[in-house]
């Protein structure tokens, strides 16, 4: 029996997953806040509580994400790209995934997998807020719509309204303008989803889109975002039950394989 934990310290949310022999026993998702180390400890304890375990039960911890080197809990850290690929392998092995599209809080990634599900190529944008989770978050606030309601609202769109600018700063102004011009919330939100999907699709085409395509990260919970991306890529997407914890699951899965290979907790 091997018990391991994966900690994904994202820019916006921290995700912690505990695995026992490949089975998810418990997980936690909490806002990252200012003190990454403190957050990861709090998150681990929450996940342990859900799994009815204690810290001493865990054999190995792997951290990943933006704050992966800040947490003092981890035995080692690993890039989000690898963790994401491992997570996909663990969660969606049976689907034959070849491309992963991930929207994070402050970045977007497209990962191409080879036939053995190893990382073959990837593209990442963490320089510009356009196309990231932040884009959705800021524009939801501009419109005064709760983030969770964006998806459902966008499905009721009846008219095509486009966001013509790239930069989020300009998009904020454009969205306010569209609202003053009397466009409906539903149409504007659908336009926002389409703008993000277009940027992702451009990135994805650079690495090459091979089916099946797996969509993960927090915004994958948004049905409107999913539909827009399916339209842009012209292929159906496979979504995890809990898209937010794919990368953390991958980190825990890596930890498990390390233990099996003989890594001991120090």
């Amino acid at each position: 029996m091997v018990i391991t934990a994966g900690i994904d310290l994202g820019s916006t949310y921290a995700k912690i997953v505990i695995l026992r022999d490949g089975v998810n026993l418990g997980f936690a998702v909490l806002p990252t806040g200012h003190d990454h180390d403190e957050t990861s400890k709090r998150g681990l304890d929450l996940a342990l509580k859900a799994a009815k375990l204690e810290r001493k039960d865990i054999e190995y911890i792997v951290s990943t994400g933006y704050g992966r080197n800040i947490t003092t809990l981890a035995n080692e850290s690993i890039s989000e790209i690898s963790a994401n690929a491992w997570g996909t392998r663990h969660i969606a092995l049976k689907y034959g995934i070849r491309t992963i599209v991930d929207i994070g809080g402050q970045d977007t990634k497209v990962i191409a997998l080879d036939d053995n599900l190893n990382v073959a190529d990837f593209r990442m944008n963490d320089k510009c807020a356009a196309g990231t989770g932040r884009f959705l978050e800021v524009l939801a606030k501009t419109m005064g719509v709760p983030l969770q309601e964006m998806g459902a609202l966008s499905l009721r769109s009846t008219k095509k309204v486009d966001i013509t600018v790239t930069c989020l700063v300009f998009a904020k102004a454009e969205v306010s303008n569209l609202m003053t011009q009397g466009h409906t919330k539903e149409d504007i939100i659908a336009g926002i989803h389409r703008a993000i999907a277009k940027r992702l699709a451009t990135m994805a085409r650079k690495v090459g889109v091979r089916r099946e395509v797996f969509f993960d990260g927090g915004p994958a919970r948004n049905i409107g975002m999913r539909k827009a991306l399916e339209d842009e890529l012209g292929t159906p997407l496979i979504i995890a039950e809990m898209p937010q914890i794919v990368t953390a699951t991958g980190a825990a899965y890596i930890a498990e394989s390390k233990v099996k290979k003989g890594a001991a907790r120090t």
Partner: protein
């Protein structure tokens, strides 16, 4: 008349001498706004409102000036204006409200090459406005405050939105605002200087547009490109000046102007 994304600028010339200048925040109703501004400028110059004037419009909202005889792109007017003020200019940098444009000219002032970035807000007027809110500093004093900073912050981001978060956390860590501002100047100069490098530096370099009013940004830019940057006294009025110069040479070619049509039709945004 320069209808920018953030501000509308009017320069009135009589016999090639500037007799009035005016700047206002661009509204959604450019047609009315530009007409009113023209009348005010005429009054300031001691003329009757409604006096016929040859008008050229420029800027992102140039199509929203119904009485303009001709519309000129910003590229043309910024070069005309800059070469009028600095006849030796070979490179003109315009940092406006929503875009950065760099034009390379030959000895005769003919455009050779240009670079533009209007997809990204970093370094533009929008960038400075966002940061002035994040730092809670008056927009007007932002250009000077960071000049004396001894230990400028290093800002990692190159995106306005991510930079804003970085600024907020630097403020929370208690870094002096002057040092953060100096870091922001560095962010702008990095972007502009890399655009310049991709074209090849040509002297003399002239900076125009509202952001060029920031002495801090100009100083950091000079350090980055290792070359002095000439800045006119009113850099934000240069495109409007270029348009006025264009209009006055057209007026000379065809004699006394027709009465300007002051009919205001429709509305338009910037």
């Amino acid at each position: 008349m320069d209808v920018g994304t953030l501000y509308t600028k009017v320069v009135l010339m009589r016999d090639d001498i500037v007799v009035a200048m005016l700047m206002e925040r661009t509204t959604m109703r450019s047609a009315e706004q530009t007409q009113q501004m023209l009348d005010v400028a005429l009054e300031n110059a001691g003329e009757e409102p409604g006096t016929p004037v040859e008008v050229f419009s420029t800027g992102a909202g140039r199509k929203n000036v119904p009485f303009a005889a001709e519309q000129k792109t910003d590229y043309i007017t910024m070069c005309t204006g800059a070469r009028f003020l600095f006849p030796t200019a070979r490179m003109v940098i315009d940092i406006g409200g929503q875009g950065i444009r760099i034009v390379e000219l030959d000895d005769m002032g003919v455009m050779q090459n240009f670079r533009t970035n209007d997809k990204c807000s970093t370094g533009t007027g929008c960038f400075l406005e966002t940061m002035s809110l994040a730092l809670n500093i008056e927009y007007e004093v932002m250009g000077e405050l960071g000049l004396a900073a001894k230990n400028p912050c290093r800002i990692q981001s190159i995106c306005t939105i991510f930079g804003e978060s970085e600024v907020v956390s630097l403020v929370a860590k208690g870094r002096p605002k002057e040092e953060i501002l100096a870091g922001l100047y560095g962010m702008v100069s990095t972007k502009v200087s890399s655009m310049i490098r991709s074209m090849g530096l040509k002297r003399d370099v002239v900076a125009v547009g509202g952001v060029a009013r920031s002495r801090g940004i100009i100083k950091h830019l000079e350090d980055a490109i290792k070359c002095p940057v000439l800045v006119p006294k009113y850099p934000h009025m240069v495109c409007a000046l270029g348009a006025a110069l264009g209009a006055s040479s057209r007026a000379r070619r065809k004699g006394p102007p027709e009465p300007a049509k002051a009919e205001v039709t429709g509305t338009g945004g910037a």
